[in-house]
Symmetry: C2
Subunit: 355 residues, 2 copies
Amino acid sequence: MNKNKDVAGEEQSGALMADVARLAGVAISTVSRALANPGRVNEKTRAKINAAARQLGYTPNAMARGLRVGKSNIIMIILPGSLYYGVSQIIPQVLQSINKSLIQGGYNLMIANLDRDELSERHILDLAFGGSVRGVIILSSKLPEVDGRSLANSGLPIVSMLLDMSDAGLLSVVTNDREAVRDVTAELIRLGHRRFFYIAGPEGNYHDVERYGGVIEALEAAGLSEERVRRSGGHLDYQHGFDIGVQAADDFATLRERPTAVIATSDDMAISFVSRIQRAGLSIPGDLSVVSFDGSPVCEFSSPPLSTIEQPVEEMGRAAVDLLLDALGQTQNPTARTVIPSRFILRESIAAPKN
Amino acid sequence: MNKNKDVAGEEQSGALMADVARLAGVAISTVSRALANPGRVNEKTRAKINAAARQLGYTPNAMARGLRVGKSNIIMIILPGSLYYGVSQIIPQVLQSINKSLIQGGYNLMIANLDRDELSERHILDLAFGGSVRGVIILSSKLPEVDGRSLANSGLPIVSMLLDMSDAGLLSVVTNDREAVRDVTAELIRLGHRRFFYIAGPEGNYHDVERYGGVIEALEAAGLSEERVRRSGGHLDYQHGFDIGVQAADDFATLRERPTAVIATSDDMAISFVSRIQRAGLSIPGDLSVVSFDGSPVCEFSSPPLSTIEQPVEEMGRAAVDLLLDALGQTQNPTARTVIPSRFILRESIAAPKN
DNA sequence: CGATTTATAGCAAACGTTTGCCAAAAATCG
DNA sequence: CGATTTTTGGCAAACGTTTGCTATAAATCG
């Protein structure tokens, strides 16, 4: 059927700029300018060209343009390998927010998963060095690097989100993890709590360091020793938040002198911890106050409703895109850190300790 | 500093195939064949070329290749506008699973959000008709269409996931919504339940139709009238699952003859419903059995732990990619429907009715 | 009205690959 | 050893745009 190359073919395989030019009776270059540049072509000609383009259903070929101008309009987002967080909607929200902002700027979003294997690193580097991609937003603390190629010297602008990587020379958009936890701990101290239980994320992870740091700062500020807080966890990734919480409940049960307040680094941990603790006969907030991090909507429907520190995910996404698009202009990337404050949501899981 | 065009420049802006050819002492075409075709070039030459390529850190330019061969290696996934589901991790899991499968096939994943505005439709169509994209996976029931261009006749292979759109001629990968709900309803009937409460998704939505259909089928099979089930909800989208559940709890309270079993179309709905119902003094499963759909991990940590029908998200993702990649070969897309069975997770939220 | 400026349109050369076709070299055969 | 086949490598033309430069037409001026 389509062996015959003479058939019109307007329908099947897409009109070309040349077709539009022919129909409008102008040169190809004029069509190009009419569709892109603002004032370079006469208003009447432009109208004629637009009409022709619409009539043919013409859509410019993105790869041809990209090749010619040496830039793509695709932004890559690098997600941590396992984005299987139980209850938080961080990843979908990030994607949505970023994609929305990008589209307004005429860009597209490509996603890449950074696992711990060399294959995924290589894949990302191919994207970066193969000219497919114009800029990068990264949600992982590791910059892909293999065989001498490193994302760091791909020449692409990179913005780190959620994690502060300004030390590594990256623009970073984060929330105020440390202060937020410091403030909420201070509030717990003010309520009378003196013994704390901290449920940790993976040891050394930015969020864990910051949030734990916040606890310590609050203790210090109140003249309390670091001994006042017991750590649980630290060896599992956030994606195993429920397991961490379950484990923490076991840990908790073994303590002789029981803490009266729990600070969890994710809502997942808090939820499974609370579930197990209640099953063991303790009551919240009667015996134990609980607060966690993320701001997952479901916390409202726990019993009791859980207090949580809400991450300003959408704002961070928007800020990351703004920063990235700005950086596309400059040649020299300024290194900076943008902090978007979180929001503490106080619910019934917090009270003064019993005596 | 880089005004001088004579500097080596191996570092900065990427080596070209020509550079590799020069270093290896062969022609460009030989390099091209060495890197792509299997047996077309002598083993020794190939080794030399590979060495040169590695030494220069050469990465082929994807857009140039794409332009030349007339195909991109990007798959677009179209997500429904608001993917803000409270507790289910469906979207991240889908993305992860799909991306993983795609990468193995040498493809990349681009995401597109289909909102209800013309802008997002136009954007998707530009991607599809602009040659940027090689195939489409769609998670929305609406095919973008504007100004005479429609995704349906973009010539791209399209696979629908989660929703059955085989009627519209699309390859579809779904789970057995209807049967799963039918079976679980039958089980509730077997336990002695005779009055049901159904918490609905948006009226007319595929999932709602199927799942409600399952309830009705089970009733019929047991010789019970449709009157046995009360519907609540139907006007809000799944993204407002918590609100639907809260509303449903209010509805429930107004009923004179109270149902003894609740079937919710999403975990979100079940969770907020349960929260409110318990606050009103009812006990689960003592007064009321509850089951829902999605299989969110957090259901295990509710009190009581919630029974739920788990969607086989990863398998569906893999299947969708397999189907799509197959379709890239054929010219004629067969229209078919692939059903991946769900898995019922029985937990303590279900029991026999009181009397 | 001729000369100079300004607006508009066209020609053709890129962008970095892939690939059809041909030539040279190597291997095989009679 | 010459003739034929097979392997291997190179030339150059695409792919669909953008854009520097040039040519024409229109407008302005002395």
